[in-house]
Structures are given as structure tokens and as C-alpha cells.
């Protein structure tokens, strides 16, 4: 077994590859985790409060209680992710020791470091990080992130910010594929990102890791929208368990993500879902979570 190697880039990015086309749902207890798995979620994100409650309650939001995470791990067979505060590498070490399958270094929790993100290369467990634009995405990848997600305003049920982030990231990728070498240097400077990653995007036409959507998904149509825009999978936070009928909504969002290009199916799964989560206008927010992270 001497050539047996864990924590390689291929293995870490590979799990993100396996989640493509799927839905990852925020859950706060074992019962919600089972509802998510039954609905067809490809993974769950274990956290103490969904983002809309964090937003309402205020105060410092931290990584979840290990006992609660263990309870969720025991309840489902799909991968379990959990959040650590930006820069809080000790919370991340603890999540790795707990055996979570992915760590989300997340702006939804209160940042622990105003300058530095976690050195994610130092871990065997893979990380997902949020990004509002391509420069932020490439900085996170250079720190070792193995999956990037948009940073749509969590807990608002408003998809507009996630759309902005996806359009910005994917639009710049499309431009870079057309850039000549001199322009690639300029892109690296403008994005404050490593030149090597810019050149890789030029050659491949894609991020080196999967790009998922997170933040503000509240309906099956929202999920299909971001998939058609080019997201490769969807995170849903408050959108499921703050809706009127979580189990029905969860199943509908999964179906919509799978068949995102088929309006007939989208109509069918959107009928009679009950109330979606209440939404918030971005202009009225006191805290913009997407501004956290650097």
C-alpha cells in the first residue's frame, strides 16, 4: 500500500466533480438531513442556523457543534459538508477531524480574520469557497479551494446577486479565452490573480475547479436559471426549510436542477408548491455577506 496517497488534488477536486448536476441543501438537524436525502440532494451542508435566521438573530455566527454534525453524518449516506469561519483554520482542523466530506470557508459565518483566508493546501479535506468575481475565485483556488461557488446574498431568497456573480465570473472567463498573451498579463494584474491560473483559463476555457451557485435560490425556476447560466450544481440554504412545504420544495428543486433545460418539466414541478421563503430586497440589507472575504 506504499503508493496509496490521500488528499491529492485529483481526489479533492474529484468529489466536487461527482456533485455536478446536483443540489446541496442546508440542514440544521438529522430530520432535515433525511428530508434532503429523500428528496434527492447529492449532499447536505450541516449548520446550526440557516442563513436567514443568522441574518435575523445577528451576533457572531461560528462553526457548528460537533455533536450536531455527528448526528447529521449518522442520518444520511450522502456527503456531509460543514462551514468554518473565513480564516478560522482551527475550526477547519476540527471539521476535518470530525470527518466531514467538504469544508465551506463561508462568509455566512462571521469572519475570524480580516486579511487572510485559510491555507487550504495544508488539509486533506477539500474546501469550497465563495466568490463574487473571477479574481476572488482565482485567489481562493490559489489558496487551495477545490470548488468555487457564487456568493449570492444568503438568507434573502433573492437570486439577483448570484446571477451577478455567475455572469461576472463566466463572462470574464469567456473574454480571457480570446485574450492574447500580453492581454493575459493585464488580466492577471486586473484580477489580482496568479498569471498561471489566467493562462490555464485561456487554454481550457473553464475554471480549474467546478463552479457551483449559492445564495438566494428560493424556487425551482431559480435553480434552473443559474444552471442555464452555467452553474454546475446548486446550493440551497434557507430556500428549502423556510418554505411552506420543505419536502415538496426540496424535491421540486432537485427535479428542476436535473431537468434545467426542459420548461415543461419545470412547469410540472412548480405547481402547487405552497409559499416560498419570504424574500428580502438587497437594497434594504444592513449586512452584505458577500462583502466578507478578500
Amino acid at each position: 500500500m506504499s503508493d496509496h496517497e490521500t488528499g491529492t488534488v485529483r481526489v479533492k477536486r474529484g468529489l466536487a466533480e461527482m456533485l455536478k448536476g446536483g443540489v446541496i441543501m442546508d440542514v440544521v438537524n438529522a430530520e432535515q438531513a433525511r428530508i434532503a436525502e429523500d428528496a434527492g440532494a447529492c449532499a447536505v451542508m450541516a449548520l446550526e442556523r440557516v442563513p436567514s435566521d443568522i441574518r435575523r438573530d445577528g451576533g457572531v455566527a461560528r462553526a457548528s457543534d460537533p455533536e450536531m454534525i455527528d448526528g447529521i453524518k449518522a442520518a444520511v449516506t450522502i456527503p456531509v459538508m460543514a462551514k468554518a469561519r473565513i480564516g478560522h483554520f482551527v475550526e477547519a482542523q476540527m471539521l476535518q477531524a470530525l470527518g466531514v466530506d467538504y469544508v465551506d470557508e463561508s462568509e455566512v459565518l462571521t469572519p475570524a480574520d480580516e486579511t487572510h483566508h485559510i491555507d487550504k493546501w495544508a488539509f486533506t479535506v477539500p474546501f469550497v469557497c465563495g466568490a463574487t468575481n473571477l479574481g476572488e475565485a482565482l485567489r481562493r483556488i490559489s489558496e487551495g479551494a477545490c470548488m468555487i461557488r457564487s456568493k449570492g446574498e444568503a438568507g434573502t431568497g433573492n437570486i439577483v446577486e448570484a446571477v451577478r456573480h455567475l455572469r461576472s465570473i463566466l463572462g470574464d472567463i469567456r473574454k480571457i479565452t480570446q485574450a492574447d498573451p500580453a492581454e493575459q498579463f493585464e488580466w492577471a494584474k486586473r484580477l489580482q490573480a496568479p498569471l498561471g491560473l489566467v493562462q490555464e483559463i485561456h487554454d481550457t476555457g473553464a475554471l480549474p475547479v467546478p463552479l457551483f451557485c449559492a445564495g438566494g435560490v428560493a424556487t425551482p425556476a431559480d435553480a434552473a436559471l443559474v444552471m442555464q447560466l452555467g452553474a454546475e450544481a446548486v446550493f440551497v440554504g434557507s430556500g428549502i426549510f423556510k418554505s411552506e412545504h420543505p419536502a415538496v420544495m426540496a424535491k421540486a428543486v432537485v427535479e428542476a436542477t436535473t431537468h434545467f433545460n426542459d420548461p415543461d418539466i419545470l412547469v410540472k414541478v412548480s405547481r402547487g408548491l405552497g409559499r416560498s421563503m419570504p424574500g428580502l430586497e438587497i437594497g434594504t440589507l444592513e449586512t452584505r455577506l458577500a462583502d466578507r472575504g478578500w
Binding site: M1, E5, T8, G14, L15, C42
Partner: protein
């Protein structure tokens, strides 16, 4: 990867997508999720019919679980297609931190191929007509099959679709 080898491909999400195909590849993913969604859309039954009629298939990781005869440690409602005589234990190496890469000796290949095992299943038993094309050493010293073939069905517990070594896909294409 298949497109790179000059093969025309399409994604199969619904029963109608199967029409006219010469072979199917069932890739990695969460086997329980795949089984659930394929059952809801009616794809699972159509696929079972086509595979029963001899449609060649290559299943990797979750795909191997779906094609096998028996699932161990799966969800109670999780179905499998039973077109290759193997029993597969789901997610048998532990959590993601236990996922690994290892060089494999493969029957028919002249140099090792590095397999990426991601929350991988273990093939616990194989029927008499199943060819084992590659094995690794289990922790207890026993040999575990990781690449198997029976008639038109090929399965592996690792992910040849990740990376740029295309030899297993070439083998599969040649076998069609």
C-alpha cells in the same frame, strides 16, 4: 473524454434519450441520488430493458453500484440493475479524507494506471463468469477487485473519467 476519442456523445436524463445509443457510460456521483432520480423519471426501467437486450455499459464508482447485482450499505429504497454479477459495498473506505489514489496493474495494459478512489465502493464478491481485470490490496491483505467485466458490462470502483489517461475508455470503445 469520449469526445476527445472521436465518439459522439449525449447526456441521458430521460427514457427518450436512450433511443439510438450504441452504449452507455454511467459515471460517478452519489449512487442513491442517481437511483432515486432515474427511478422518478422512468429512466431506470428503460435502462434495465436496454441493458437486458445487450446494450454495452461502462459504470464507474456509482455506476458500478447501479449495474451490480447487490448493494450493501445502501439506502433501503436504492435499486440496482443486476446486469453484472457483483455485490458492492457502498462508500466502503470511509469518509472523503480517506479517498485516495493508487497505481493499478490492469490486464491488457502494459503500464500501470493511477486510479482515483473517491468515497469509493468495494466489490465484495464476484460471480463465476465475471472477469477481474484489476485488483488492489485491502487493509487486511486480501485482494479486492476494482475493475471487472462480464459480457458487455464493464465496471470499476475508481474514476478513470478524472484525469487524462484514456486507456480504459479506449478499451471500452473497442469492446462495443
Amino acid at each position: 473524454m469520449l469526445t476527445g476519442l472521436g465518439v459522439a456523445t449525449r447526456q441521458v436524463r430521460q427514457p427518450g434519450d436512450l433511443v439510438g445509443l450504441d452504449a452507455v457510460v454511467i459515471p460517478g456521483g452519489e449512487s442513491s441520488t442517481m437511483s432515486l432520480l432515474a427511478e422518478r423519471s422512468g429512466l431506470l426501467d428503460s435502462l434495465a430493458d436496454r441493458l437486458g437486450a445487450g446494450l454495452p455499459a461502462f459504470g464507474t464508482c456509482a455506476g458500478a453500484i447501479l449495474l451490480g447485482r447487490e448493494i450493501l450499505d445502501g439506502r433501503p429504497d436504492q435499486r440496482c440493475l443486476g446486469v453484472i454479477d457483483i455485490a458492492v459495498r457502498r462508500n466502503a473506505y470511509g469518509r472523503q479524507v480517506d479517498s485516495f489514489e493508487e497505481p493499478l496493474t490492469v490486464v491488457g495494459l502494459d503500464s500501470p494506471l493511477v486510479g482515483a478512489f473517491i468515497r469509493a465502493p468495494v466489490i465484495e464478491s464476484v460471480g463465476p463468469t465475471v472477469e477481474v481485470l484489476s485488483e488492489i490490496d485491502a487493509i487486511d491483505g486480501a485482494r479486492q477487485p476494482v475493475l471487472c467485466r462480464e459480457r458487455t458490462i464493464t465496471v470499476c470502483t475508481f474514476h478513470p473519467e478524472l484525469g487524462d489517461d484514456t486507456r480504459l475508455h479506449e478499451m471500452f470503445i473497442e469492446s462495443i
